[in-house]
Each structure stands twice: as C-alpha cells, then as structure tokens.
C-alpha cells in the first residue's frame, strides 16, 4: 500500500519555483528520506503534504486522501504525526503537559506515559519545556508526533542544530520506529542520517528529485569505484603496481590509491602484495552518499545544510 503518492508537484512563489515538478511515492512501512541542501524544496514539499501549505500544480494523495478536499484533509490530520522544522511547544508547560495537549487533540491516542518512556524522557517528564536542551526538545516533538499512533510520521529535519551526542540519541529513537514498521517521511541534509535511517532516499536539488533509490542502489549507481589505499608506500611499489594495473596514483602523503573496478583486480593486487611481502597498512574505501551527492549535483552539503 502507498501512504504517499505525489505526481508532478509544482510550487511556485512570485519569483521562485520552490518545487519543480516532482513525483514519488512512499510505501507502507518504509523510512523514506528527502536528502538535499537548504532551499532544495524539502520542507516546502513536506508542508504541502501535511496540508500546511498550498501548491500550484500536481496531485497529492496522503494515506489515500486528496489534500485538496476539505473532508479528506480532516482524515489526513487524523492519520499523520508531525515533527515540524524548528519544533516548539508551550514554554511554561512541562514535557508531560505538552505531549498531553497534542494527545487531547485526537479522539484516540496512545498513553502519554508510554510515549515518555519510549523517548527516554521519564526524568524530564515534569520539567518545563523552556528548560530543556535542544536534543530533549526534539524528543518531546517526536513523542508528540507519535502519541496519536499515526499511520504516517513526518520528521522535518529532526536533528538539525543538535550536537553529535544528541543527534545519535534521536537516531536511536528513529531506528526503533523503523524496526516497528512505522512509515516515516524524513527530510535531512545530513548524509549519514539518511544512510543510517532510510530504506529509500530521494536526492533533492533545486526543486527536483535528482535520483531515488535505496542507499545501496544509489551508491552502486552513482558512487563510483571502491578505492584500495596502501598507506606510507614508496615510489618503487607505486611504479611496480602502476606497471601491472590501471588507475594507480600516489598522493603527497605517500599513500597509493588504486581504483577497484572488479573483484579479481583486488585479489591480484593482494596476492602481489603478499608475494612481495610488502607488509603495508591497507584500507578499502567504499563510496558513500557524499560521493553520490557530489556526482549527481556537483556540490557538497555543509554541516549547516548549505550547498557548496
């Protein structure tokens, strides 16, 4: 079953096109990620899907309901849970009270105490929202997004602005969602986040989907070759290898890089090194989503989410 179906979605503002004709669908039970830099159209798309923003053209079904029909929107709101970008709650209310407030908006909801437990917020249940750290605030937001037991969960930049420890804590929670089979729509500009959490990724750039697939599929298709690195080698070894194999380079640190286009090549290099008793430190670098992104868009994404 498809939880989200988007066909040729366009969102135009007076002078820019934020979303430029994108189509995709999200299957039940998968963690689908929109990966791209700031301004790529991720949040705009998500907000359209959450019925928070109007759009210019295209068709969108969420949980099988049409977002342009008022009656359908009511149904969508019952079926989705949302962690908006820059999540905030009432400052003077406690963690528990804020989650309760969201829970009370639904006819049926899970126990607030269970959500507090799920997000490891027991110690902070009676702390005021204003006194929480960024990571804890995000966890309150995730608890609020889950309390209605939604079929589909939207998480818009769930770890932006968090320190690495807090980020990992949030990832643990999200990995749990993946395990219990929740359908999740995630937006992020962190490669690692998409790689760790997503079952399928759409790489979004300048309002368009540039590529889509599982992390492995994307890497296989766009990531380029694996690279064998031989640390602290000498010129003569580089020359010997260069005579026998293609794509052998040496950098200024004295590391030899050899592109591996097939497994046999790797084996023959290894047996040559063994025969030579080279005893060098070696490492195989596999391409990452970063390489995929660079290959597809010609740019990298900074920590802050800017394309560069």
């Amino acid at each position: 079953m498809l939880e989200v179906q988007v066909q040729d979605l366009v969102k135009q503002y007076a002078d820019t096109t934020a979303v430029d004709g994108i189509s995709f669908s999200v299957n039940n039970g998968e963690v689908f990620a929109f990966l791209g830099p700031n301004g790529a159209g991720k949040t705009t798309t998500v907000e359209i899907l959450e019925c928070l923003r109007s759009f210019t053209k295209g068709s969108v079904l969420v949980c099988g309901y049409d977002i342009t029909k008022d009656k359908d929107v009511e149904e969508i709101k019952k079926n989705i849970g949302v962690l908006p970008q820059d999540f905030n709650a009432l400052d003077k209310l406690t963690v528990k009270e804020n989650i309760e407030l969201i829970a009370d908006m639904y006819d049926k909801h899970l126990k607030v105490a269970d959500m507090i437990k799920l997000l490891n917020l027991e110690d902070k249940a009676n702390a005021r929202f204003e006194n929480l750290s960024g990571g804890l605030k995000q966890r309150v937001g995730i608890a609020a997004a889950l309390v209605s037991d939604p079929k589909l969960v939207f998480l818009d930049e769930p770890t932006t602005g968090l320190d690495p420890k807090a980020r990992r804590d949030v990832w643990d929670v999200l990995a749990n969602l993946k395990k219990i089979g929740k359908t999740v729509f995630l937006t992020t500009h962190y490669m690692e986040e998409a790689q760790v959490l997503a079952t399928r990724i759409a790489i979004v750039n300048k309002g368009k989907i540039a590529a889509m697939g599982s992390p492995q599929e994307l890497i296989d298709e766009y990531g380029g070759l694996k690279i064998l690195v031989i640390r602290k080698a000498d010129e003569s070894l580089a020359k010997k290898l260069g005579d026998k194999f293609e794509h052998v380079t040496m950098n200024s640190n004295g590391d030899i890089h050899i592109k591996i286009d097939n497994t046999d090549k790797l084996y023959s290099i290894m047996s040559l090194l063994t025969a030579m008793k080279a005893e060098k430190d070696i490492e195989i670098q596999t391409p990452t989503l970063e390489d995929v992104f660079l290959k597809i868009t010609g740019s990298k994404i900074s920590e802050e989410g800017e394309a560069k």
Binding site: C51, P84, D91, L93, I102, M105
Partner: protein
C-alpha cells in the same frame, strides 16, 4: 471538546508566566491606585477594569498569540484535528478567566483602598464575560492577521490607547468636546465601561442591559472575525 484542552494549556501557560501576569494584573492595580488616589476611586473601579480587560485582549492576547505563531506553536496544533473554532474558543475562555480574576482583584482594591463596597451580581459577571469575549475576539482577529510580535504590539497600542481616552475611562466624557463625545459612541469600550459602571456603581439595570446588548452583538462579530482570520494554511 478540544477547546477544553486548549483552555487548560494556555491558562497554565499564562499562570506560570510572571511578566504576563504582571502586565495583565499588577499594572491595572497600579493604575487604579494612582488614578483612584488622585480623583477618587468609585468610578475608576469599573472603568479601569473595563479598560484593562480591553488591553488584555487587544495587546496581551495579540502579543501572546503572535509569539505562538512565530514559534510555530499554532502551526503544530493546526496539523492535528483541532478546529479553528476550538482554538479561538479555548483562548478566549482562558482570557476570560484571567479577566474575572482581574475584576475580583480590582473590586478588592476598591474595597480596601477606596471604600467602594461592591458585591458583583450575576449581571456584572455576565457583563465581564461578554466584554472579555468581545476584546479577546478582537485580539484573536488581530493575531490571526498580523505576522510578527512587533507589529502586534504596535497595532495593539494604536488601537487601545485612543479607545481608552475616547471611552471616558480616564476623563469623563461630559467634559469632552461634542465631536469627541459623538466619536465615543463608535468605540466598543464605551459600552462595556458604561455598562460595567451601571452594573456595579449606579445599579441601573436598564443601562446595563442596553450596553450589554451592544457588547454581546459585537462579541459575536469579533469571535466570528477571529475564527475567519485564523489561518491554518500558508501560501
């Protein structure tokens, strides 16, 4: 019944906010004591109460809600099955509770400081309720249409202060030029302030009911405006 949850949440939020409580309760008390000491307290108890119920709606509620809007709190709630009507009603009722509290304290100050012996009757309470709904309704309509907190403070002040002076809260209408007296007939606060004075000081039920009718009608109009101007969806 989602408005009950909204009512509870926003009420707890202002009860625990010291600056909010200062401006909505301590500031009116200060003004009552100052003006009452200079000019005698009896008329100032109802008119100041009316005036600050007005500012609590038009300045206080508008600032609080535009701040909620800026921080995405309203947006977060709008993604749930909450209706605009429930949202507006919850906020307005919470504000009304604050205003009933304010009225009680103002009457208490009247007793202690100015020997104005007032026991609020049901008609007074109804008047406070309707006036509170009216001005909170204006606050909801303003916060629905204004983008940021600065604009809310500016617009709230620009509306409130002339209204306060032109409704005879500080200066009796009888000593004002006739054009201003005529203008005062178009100011909602005039009817609320007059009606409240009639209910608790002069005890003229006829005047109270007449003013109450006008306040009630305006309350309906502004609640409707509040619901219509609240936006659940952005462009």
């Amino acid at each position: 019944m989602r408005f009950v949850a909204i009512f509870k949440a926003v009420t707890k939020n202002w009860l625990r906010s010291r600056t909010g409580l200062f401006f909505s309760i301590m500031f009116p008390i200060m003004m009552l004591v100052i003006f009452g000491s200079i000019f005698g307290g009896s008329n100032y108890v109802p008119t100041m109460t009316a005036a600050f119920i007005m500012t609590n709606g038009i300045i206080g509620l508008t600032s609080t809600n535009t701040e909620f809007k800026r921080r995405g709190i309203i947006r977060r709630l709008s993604i749930t099955p909450l209706t605009k009507m429930d949202w507006v009603v919850g906020c307005v009722l919470s504000q009304t509770l604050l205003n009933l509290l304010l009225t009680g304290i103002m009457i208490g100050i009247g007793w202690i400081a100015f020997s104005v012996r007032v026991i609020p009757d049901p008609l007074t309470v109804l008047m406070i309720f309707l006036g509170s709904v009216l001005f909170s309704g204006i606050g909801m309509a303003l916060s629905g249409s204004l983008k940021d907190v600065e604009a809310a403070a500016a617009v709230g002040n620009v509306i409130s202060y002339p209204m306060m002076f032109l409704s005879g809260v500080f200066v009796p209408l009888s000593i004002m030029p006739s054009t201003l007296q005529l203008l005062s007939k178009f100011i909602p606060l005039t009817y609320f302030s007059d009606g409240l004075k009639a209910a608790i000081i002069t005890k003229s039920t006829g005047t109270t009911l007449y003013d109450m009718g006008i306040v009630a009608a305006l309350a309906v109009v502004f609640i409707a405006a509040g619901v219509l101007l609240t936006r659940w969806k952005e462009k």
